[in-house]
Amino acid sequence: MKNLACVRSSGFQHPASLHRRDGALVRRRWSLWPKALGDRRPSGGPPDDSAQDTVFHTKEVFDVPPHAEAILVGVISGALIRYLFLRRDYRQYPSYPHGVVTHLSLGFIAAFIGAAAIPAIVEKEFTAVTFLALAATQFREVREMERTMLQNLDQGNLVPRGPDYIEGIARVFEARNYLIMFTSLLVSGITLWGNYLSGLLIAVVLLLIGLQLKGGKTITDIAKVRQGQVHFDGPLLYVEDIDFMNLGMGSVHEVYLERGIGIIIEPFDDNSRATLANNGQRMAISHDAAALMGIYKDVDTAEFTPIVRRDLDTGRVGLIIVPIEQDVKFLIEAVKRVPILESALSMPLKTYAGGKAAD
């Protein structure tokens, strides 16, 4: 830093460089030209008389764009929060390294657009704000991209996620970019108004709020999960009194009786009953259970595909699965933690007719 020389320049002048320590208003620009090389600059300009007046302040070392601090704090906190929101877990996505890179880059772009918005307004660059709209279009593409990719990958899954689960994941990816944009906007705005410390404080608060919100509901919030007895009635496979399917062949029956585990999910109320009735939600349950506990199945043994069926009388839902891990306790735990899909969540009790009919 000490090697930095200060030269006069007739180029762009930033307000930050309009003062000197002695208070004199001097138009000058700090350049990276090493002081040791003197003034033998390629341009061959006149010797610099203020070269001794080196000021060690970041804002004055470079040509600092307006409101750089606000934008910087906004972008960094936004990108960091995007990184913290990227979950790499059993859902196996986006554990792919390239997925992480893609989403971090998009998160960075979102953070930058958000962070630049308020400084742009302050500088009366109103057209710059229209870029927010452009960004929104861009992030809708993210949803499309995720949906297509997950749908393609789903064909390779022994137990598919199902379209509802995929739609849910894609929607989350899109929404998180908006969330980051908004976070960066707030953080940069606050930084501009106060200083970087207040900006960082807001970033932490927003991160905590985000972590609270992103969890969402799981099966354990809407239903009781317990084990059920697996048995056959002729060729019909049952868990307790829920009929699953007709299966031929004694050898298949033996595998089910020996290794199969039945799970019963009992909804707490009519809202949960309607949610569990959703086929996409049920596919999500079987996918997650199979992903966590392992599945005793290959492409040519379709009879061991986990199934989720519904008891028409009570709205209870049963799951039959032949897991690799014969651990009922953790299978129940896995089912309890299946997320409630946004598309499956229904609340008939909140309507007049639904509420009255349930009485």
Partner: protein, 62 residues
Amino acid sequence: MELEKLILAIITQDKEKVYGAGAPVFLAISQEEQDKIALYLARITEGVIHDLENGVYVLVKH
């Protein structure tokens, strides 16, 4: 609307029980043979064997 379930084959010990089928019918002479044919066909076609309880197995693609 797309047809998702399809009977790929019928394995029976009694050919009187099956009539005018759109799927190939495999005639077995014993329970063991019926099971064996059903199992092989299930593995080959990636279908699931269902028992109609009258000595007829159907192989269904799900």
